[in-house]
């Protein structure tokens, strides 16, 4: 239990770090490029590429963080109208299917990474192996899949409430600390 919690804490910190600095890097690159061109008449050729790498990394590494925070966009119209029992069933079924899909996508995107690795393609400005960038896609899908499994687990353990998507009962929030303690994997 302790170990899981440690790993989980590490992963949250990592996700938060990546999301924060991806955004900050984009800002630095775009501002730096514009200022450098305007002031020094020099355009750093890597600026656009670094920003684009940051956006891909943030997008895919954000999947699990958004799942953790219940921030994925969904259409909850019918779900909201459903009786508690139905919602409870769905709250277990949906994260389950979602995580299966994400694991499937992990598999295909890992194959894609291998493919790009074998071709030895590099990025055009930095001449950096392109698979470095794509590596974040399977990692992001995988962590997302794990996170949805966890959402499912919490819904199985806690019989009185529903934790899902836009209900945004966020079990990572400080005030709900006790739920995390009780239901942690």
């Amino acid at each position: 239990m302790k170990l899981f919690k440690l790993i989980d804490n590490f992963i949250v910190k990592l996700e938060e770090f990546i999301l924060s600095y991806a955004v900050i890097i984009i800002a630095l690159m775009v501002v730096g490029k514009a200022l450098s061109r305007a002031i020094f008449s020099y355009t750093p050729p890597f600026a656009d590429e670094v920003s684009q790498i940051a956006i891909v990394v943030a997008t895919f590494m954000g999947i699990s963080y958004a799942a953790r925070k219940g921030r994925h966009i969904s259409m909850s119209a019918f779900y909201d109208l459903a009786p508690f029992k139905a919602r409870k069933v769905l709250s277990i079924l949906i994260p389950l299917v979602t995580s299966i899909v994400l694991f499937l996508l992990t598999y295909y995107s890992a194959l894609y990474v291998v493919n790009v690795y074998e071709d030895g393609t590099v990025t055009s400005a930095l001449q950096m192996p392109k698979y470095y960038l794509y590596l974040f896609i399977p990692i992001g899908f995988f962590l997302g899949g794990v996170q949805f499994l966890r959402n499912m687990w919490i819904n199985i353990k806690d019989r009185d409430a529903v934790y899902l998507g836009t209900d945004a009962k966020d079990y990572n929030d400080k005030e709900k600390e006790e739920i995390v303690e009780e239901t942690h994997l």
Binding site: L19, V23, V31, Q52, R71, L164, G165
Partner: protein, 421 residues
């Protein structure tokens, strides 16, 4: 095949799956059923292609700038300043929102960036004075549409390339329809404010106004930097998004000291979260587009519909319907790329002016970003305001009705686009 695709998507969507799942799974299933020889890794490639376009960078940047401004003092100072001039007027805030979105959209060229940059501060104020949330959000996402109609419109640049039409002419032709859209939204806002009986603020005195103006002097540097920077060629529209982050940073962290530099990563993290929630959908949308294009669905349907020797009005009607429906499911820019070549030859045969066709098409694309179920502006609003999808779209029908009515006007009166040329 289309039926399979849509059924899977709609069922998963209604069951309250995270929207990325239907968008990513439907193309995968279609591939398994109809193209078993294809390697599904193509779709993985499309995920990353979907989010790589450079102009998309404006979205996280404007979110970041808006997050900094709303956390600190800038946005309230700006809004108090605006409020002192229009707060006592019926529908004043709503019309100001529409105007700000139109202006900002025209400058930034990005509907999503407009939703964030104007929507984030304006929505709070609209709620505070008594607007219901769906109304406020619908006003914001629909007013942001105009970004695609007024220069420098990325939609028109793409149409210009695909069709070989003059981009300069297209820019000019979009002006009148853009103004008509703004005016309709403004009139609707005033009427709405009257019917819903939105309370008015007391008229501010000139000395109050002067006080608030002084406080807003530095924040007013934002429009100066963005508009001035783009029009003098100092920065591109995407870079202006970056400059707005820099300016927000300078104001809040260095001058007002309302935000400590250590808080920035936390603000950036929230920006990153919102960006990710929106961009996974853009990624999925690209994979969806790939399957549709690969199976040549647009060609099949259009061949069936157009027939031999159609009249100009009929072609324009079909263009309107096809682009409208296309934009319901796919990103508008992609729709322009994919559908324009299919309809362009028939339109030319029917004697339609290529510039007018471009305006009709761009108009649908503009509407498309705010039309459910796949509307990037809706996703953006849902993520940025942290509101359920349905809540975001609840208020949109009146706007869609207005936009459709203007579409019909455009079909019959090509002068609306060609008058200024």
């Amino acid at each position: 095949m289309v039926a399979t695709l849509l059924t899977i998507m709609v069922v998963l969507l209604l069951l309250n799956f995270p929207m990325m799942i239907p968008l990513m799974v439907a193309p995968l299933i279609v591939m398994f059923i109809y193209f078993p020889n294809l390697d599904p890794m193509i779709l993985m490639q499309q995920f990353s292609t979907g989010i790589e376009p450079y102009v998309l960078l404006a979205v996280p940047l404007f979110i970041f700038a808006a997050d900094i401004m709303t956390t600190g003092k800038t946005s309230n100072r700006l809004l108090d300043f605006i409020g002192s001039f229009i707060g006592h007027i019926r529908g004043g805030y709503a019309v100001t929102t529409a105007a700000a979105c139109t202006l900002f959209g025209a400058i930034s060229g990005s509907t999503q960036a407009t939703v964030v940059a104007i929507g984030k501060p304006m929505r709070e104020r609209l709620l505070k004075i008594g607007y219901k949330d769906p109304t406020a959000m619908a006003l914001i996402i629909n007013s942001s549409d105009v970004a695609l109609l007024v220069p420098p419109s990325i939609g028109m640049i793409i149409y210009g390339l695909v069709s070989g039409t003059s981009v300069g002419d297209l820019f000019i032709a979009g002006i009148i329809p853009g103004i008509i859209v703004f005016l309709s939204f403004a009139i609707y806002s005033i009427v709405y404010a009257k019917v819903a009986n939105i309370p008015l603020a007391n008229k501010a005195t000139w000395s109050e106004r002067w006080q608030l103006t002084r406080k807003a002097i530095l924040p007013l540097g934002f429009p100066v930097i963005i508009i001035g920077g783009i029009y003098t060629g100092l920065f591109s529209p995407t870079e202006a998004a970056g400059m707005s982050v820099l300016y927000a940073f300078v104001l809040e962290v260095l001058i007002y000291r309302s935000i400590h530099i250590k808080e920035l990563p936390k603000i950036a993290r929230s920006t990153g979260l919102v960006t990710s929630a929106v961009f996974v959908l853009v990624a999925g949308g690209q994979a969806f587009t790939w399957v549709i294009s690969f199976a040549r669905v647009p060609q099949m349907i259009s061949e069936a519909v157009l027939g031999a020797d159609p009249s100009a009005v009929y072609v324009l009607l079909m263009v309107t319907i096809f682009f409208f429906v296309g934009c319901m499911f796919v990103d508008p820019i992609v729709v322009i790329l994919v559908l324009t070549p299919i309809f362009y030859p028939a339109a030319m045969d029917a004697g339609i002016d290529p510039v007018h066709l471009g305006v009709v098409i761009t108009f649908q694309a503009a509407l498309g970003s705010a039309t459910p179920p796949f509307g990037v502006d809706i996703f953006t609003a849902s993520a940025v305001f942290n509101k359920p999808y349905l809540e975001v779209i609840k208020g949109t029908p009146p706007y869609i009705v207005m936009m459709v009515a203007i579409s019909i006007l455009l079909i019959f009166f090509e002068e609306l686009s060609l008058l200024l040329l």
